[in-house]
Amino acid sequence: MPFEKVLMKNVGVPNSPSLKVYESRGGYEGARIALKMTPDALVELVKKANVRGRGGAGFPAGMKWSFLPKDRTVTYLCVNADESEPPTFCNRVTMEHDPHMLLEGILIAGWATRTTTAYIYMRGEFTEQYHIMQKAVDEAYAAGYFGRNVMGSGYAMDCYIHRGAGAYVCGEETGLIESLEGKRGWPRIKPPFPAIEGAFRKPTVVNNVETLACLPHILTRGVDWWLSIGPAGSHGPKMFCISGPVNRPGCYEAPLGVTVRELIYGDDFARGMRGDKKVKAVSPGGLSMGWLRGDLFPKCPDGQVDPVQDFDELDCRMDFDDVRRYGMLGLGTAALVVVNEDTDLRDVLLNQARFYAHESCGQCTQCREGTGWMYRIAERIHAGAGRKLDLDILCEVTANMGMMPGMSICGLPDGAVFPIRTLVQKFRREFEAAIDRQAPDAAAQRIRSVNPAAYELPIYEGRATRNIRGTMSSDHYSGSQR
């Protein structure tokens, strides 16, 4: 069966953000079906479809909804439209071209969770998108899709847009809730999870724009249609964003499970690299998920995944599970950024280290200091004063921050750890070659320029130091043991 676009079917249709066009193309049919069902049956349906969240964590939406306490009177639905993960823009495309699809999804999710008020938390940098969404909300209110009596069913639900003001952590679900309450976007310690105690201390559901946009199609086309797309465990269509020096950057809809190579070279997708360059590295899931090696490297002869040797990894499939085999954190937002063979990876390392150091909210010591430390090391390497030891230190820092070792409140440092660790481990040879090209005393010079008192200190030079001092365990360095 050929793949049919649903999430992006209205993109490119003239005047697609208007209610009239949306309704003429089958809009609000799903909501009509949903309102005839009971909320519990709707939750069961979404559970059966196993709709995994598109916001990053991949948590099944139906499961999340079923955690809400049974005896609640007020429920909030927060729509996570704070798309700040570089280089992700699929939610922007949805809101720009098809705002009513999102509103219909909100209506369905709202009915399933018996939401009283839905807040669309939209990042402050979305200006045009904000006006389009607000216009769509007005239209939907006027047509009776929101308000005291939703589509004549007696169900009451409000929907408001809340604009953020420029902070990446506000995309984290509890950070979003804090920001909605008019505070700094500092993520909260969990538990209690938002489903129990969220916005305004009431049960709250936080879902991504794309997760909600999938719901109308499940209702109109049925669960079997949904389950027929994609590999086991990762069903459904997904919007993939491709950016960087490719021929046709953009947002493309495809079933989950498509390979990275297909997305970069496929005729329906990015159509290859600009100037026929080779791919050196690609980050398949937004910046926070880690890096893959590109086709600059030879293919592994026996087709195995080998994280240690330098082999082409573009055959990685884009679904929630396969990416983990390549050392990624997860699928993330499925936004690819492609780095070609001419790019110096030290630039990439510095750029991403700066991003996390800038965006860490500073509540947790490991995250605040760790991201800052990695940024300073990346700066040093970038300035041509790196040491081979710095690469080991980077790996050591990454092993000691984040939610996985239990060091932080939110997942931002995990998102910082994976891209830096995979970049340093998978491309260690390139970094070492760059360090070898430096002047022999560059590192010492830089230290002296910062602190003349450090004049007499020894400048450690590489893995040997670690063994002499014997303080670091080698478990963390599987990639650097080559």
Binding site: T127, H131, V137, G182, G185
Partner: protein, 188 residues
Amino acid sequence: MSWKVIDRNQVAADQLGPGLSALTREKIRGFFSRYPTKQACLLPALHIAQDQIGYCSLRAMREIAELLEISPSQVMDVVTFYTHFWTHPKGRKVIVLCRSISCELMGGREVREAIERRLGIGNHETSADGEYSLLMEECLAGCDHAPCMLINERMHKCVRPEDVERILADAKNDQLDIPRSTTYDAGR
């Protein structure tokens, strides 16, 4: 190291900056019905105040605190957390330039240099004529059209260094011509 101690109880009246107009207060009150607490209106209130005044002045912060029944320190706490709010006057137009990975790969750094050369200002600075301020931010979610640049409300896509002159000379470079909602209309 040296720093300046500001006693905010004793700030001279002329340093407090402008306050909220009656219309602004009205707009802020319009948000009260949307949220169960008044504090939740803080972000919208600051957006509206910054639209009116051009930045978040101390007087505006105090008045917002009074309006929302929270303490002024809570308002300042929020203002200083978010990059969108300015605590000192900014230019009439704010150029927000993306410095994240896709834009940098596609030549964002050269665009930044071209802008800095043209206006003679660096990050978080305002040109002498008060027209432009420059702000470097992380990904603006327009990576398919990298490098991106936002001037107030309008997004400029695929900017090349040689385009900078033309874009900055255009007087309408910050205006969007799309239909707007009348419910609440706040520019950036």
